[in-house]
């Protein structure tokens, strides 16, 4: 594998690998580290002469495992503070009240995402963070498009139900 091959592989699979890591604990920066580490490991393995026939499957598996390890130790780094806990300090453009509502909704979404299965979070990450179409998600994860569609629909419905009472409670 040459540097050019490696770069094109990174450009092609980098977002999917990032999404696989991000879906584990919803931390974008940590997921970027995991994605880079996964690609570095791929490079080392191929340099050492090991044959990797399916780089995508290999990278996704390594990224999920690394992210899982990181999630297990995340409590020691973050304590009880969520990774995005200080994000409101950087917010600009909206009034404090609007920002409060937006943040509150994001917190609810984060909590709700945290309760989902890893596979569902991964599908939602590919769909909403990377704008992948259903077929792309199915191809990336090696599952059927119907399964992706079903899981997406179910997830949307559950979130809609979660967000709905708040709207209707308002006069």
């Amino acid at each position: 594998m040459t540097q050019a091959d490696f770069s094109s592989l990174y450009a092609e699979l980098g977002p999917s690998v990032w999404a696989a890591a991000y879906a584990r604990h919803l931390d974008a920066a940590a997921a970027a580290d995991v994605a880079q580490e996964s690609f570095c490991r791929l490079w080392r393995e191929t340099r050492e002469g090991k044959a990797i026939h399916h780089p995508k499957a290999w990278l996704l598996r390594v990224a999920r495992n690394l992210a899982e390890d990181q999630r297990k130790s995340a409590f020691h780094r973050n304590g009880t503070q969520a990774p995005g806990g200080l994000a409101p300090l950087l917010a600009r453009g909206a009034s404090p009240l609007e920002q409060l509502e937006v943040d509150e909704e994001r917190r609810r979404v984060r909590r709700w995402l945290g309760e989902l299965a890893d596979a569902d979070r991964e599908i939602l990450t590919l769909r909403y963070a990377l704008d992948y179409e259903t077929e792309q998600i199915a191809e990336t994860l090696g599952i059927s498009a119907a399964a992706v569609h079903m899981r997406l629909s179910r997830a949307r419905q559950r979130l809609a139900e979660l967000l709905k009472p708040k709207d209707e409670a308002q006069p």
Partner: protein, 114 residues
């Protein structure tokens, strides 16, 4: 409870869509990380190897010089006659004997009485 049992409308689903999109976009990194610079590490490696070759050659040369010096000293020591070769063999006390062994000094005879 009744509110949750009400059927979901398209607006509810659209709101869920918007909330998900907003959440993920807010959490996305502002700039996508570049590919790891693996080729740089690979090009640095031969340089390190060349330096290590020089270090290895120098250490082997030093070791060979030390070995040569040691061999030369050993040959010189072999050429010298040992002190034991020059004189008669020393008499040794027999093992287990309680008596003092023979001495090379002449025994002192006791003086005659008177």
């Amino acid at each position: 409870m009744n509110e949750q049992m009400a059927p979901l409308t398209e607006a509810d689903l659209a709101r869920a869509d918007a909330a998900l999109a907003d959440f993920f976009r807010s959490d996305l990194p502002s700039s996508w990380p570049a590919a790891p610079q693996v080729e740089l590490a690979a090009t640095r490696l031969p340089r390190r190897t060349r330096a290590s070759h020089w270090a290895l050659a120098a250490s082997v040369a030093l070791w060979a010089m030390g070995l040569g010096l040691f061999a030369a000293l050993a040959v010189r020591d072999e050429a010298k006659p040992l002190p034991d070769d020059a004189g008669p063999p020393t008499a040794h006390r027999p093992i287990g004997s309680q008596r003092p062994g023979p001495s090379s000094k002449p025994l002192r005879r006791p003086l005659p009485p008177g």
